[in-house]
Amino acid sequence: MADEEVVKKFLYLNRKAPYGSIYALESLEVVLIGAAFDQDVSLAFIDDGVYQLKKDQSTDGIGMKNFSSTYRALGDYDVNKIYVDKASMDERGLTIDDLMPLTYEDEDDDYAEKPSISIKSSEEMAALMEEQDVILSF
């Protein structure tokens, strides 16, 4: 594919909570399909989007599919730049320990397992956003 010659910085912007609407699930589906295109992918979780990464999701009671394990698979798809907004976490009383421990294997470091999530300040996140070529919002 000619596409493979062009590598753009793709940012997936997630600002909505899971289950109350389909945006979290369907945006993840774009990320997974997008992984095959070898672009430079980052995910940003801001506002209620941080809740998508909350661990211990159990959906039996609401009769919906629990798709949270899909986030854990992102590392296998070379999606390992997951940025979480600190202010959104703080105002929701969340810490990194509340989130699923997403990891990836760094092939440049003997496949050492490393965390994919980094908590960013507003300034850091703004700088990351400015670098992007394509921003997908859901």
Binding site: F10, E26, L136, F138
Partner: protein, 130 residues
């Protein structure tokens, strides 16, 4: 400029499809190219030919069909989102054993790869949603 457009919401429920249409039309009037208009989430509902909106208001589906015809636009409805919401073309209906199809003229059903490709090939990707 080559624009890629993403429409995340269905006709009438939100203004997204209208805004996307107005933007697309304005871009074409300025001589820009529209690489693709991709419909995702409830946006796939813009691709049904079965709407019968009131006569005294805009016909959102037909407007897209007409604009696509006039400017040879590529209107793509995401297959995964379409399957969830019941938008089918003839092939899909056969494949899924459904007794009808409802895709509107000028729209085609395809995969999410088309959205990614739009991001790669366009100079700008503009998202309309809720």
């Amino acid at each position: 400029m080559k624009f890629g457009i993403l429409v995340n919401e269905g006709p009438y429920q939100h203004q997204a499809s209208d805004s996307a249409y107005m933007f697309t039309k304005a871009a074409l009037e300025k001589g820009h190219e529209i690489f693709r208009v991709f419909f995702y989430h409830d946006g796939v509902n813009n691709g049904t030919r079965l709407t019968v909106p009131p006569q005294d208001d805009r016909n959102i589906v037909n407007r897209w069909t007409e604009l696509a015809k006039e400017h040879n636009l590529d209107l793509v409805v995401c297959i995964a989102a379409a399957q969830r919401r019941g938008i089918l073309d003839e092939n899909e209906a056969k494949r899924q054993g459904k007794d009808a199809n409802n895709i509107a003229e000028g729209f085609r059903i395809s995969g999410l790869g088309q959205l990614i490709e739009s991001g790669i090939q366009s100079d700008r990707l503009v998202v309309f949603g809720d």
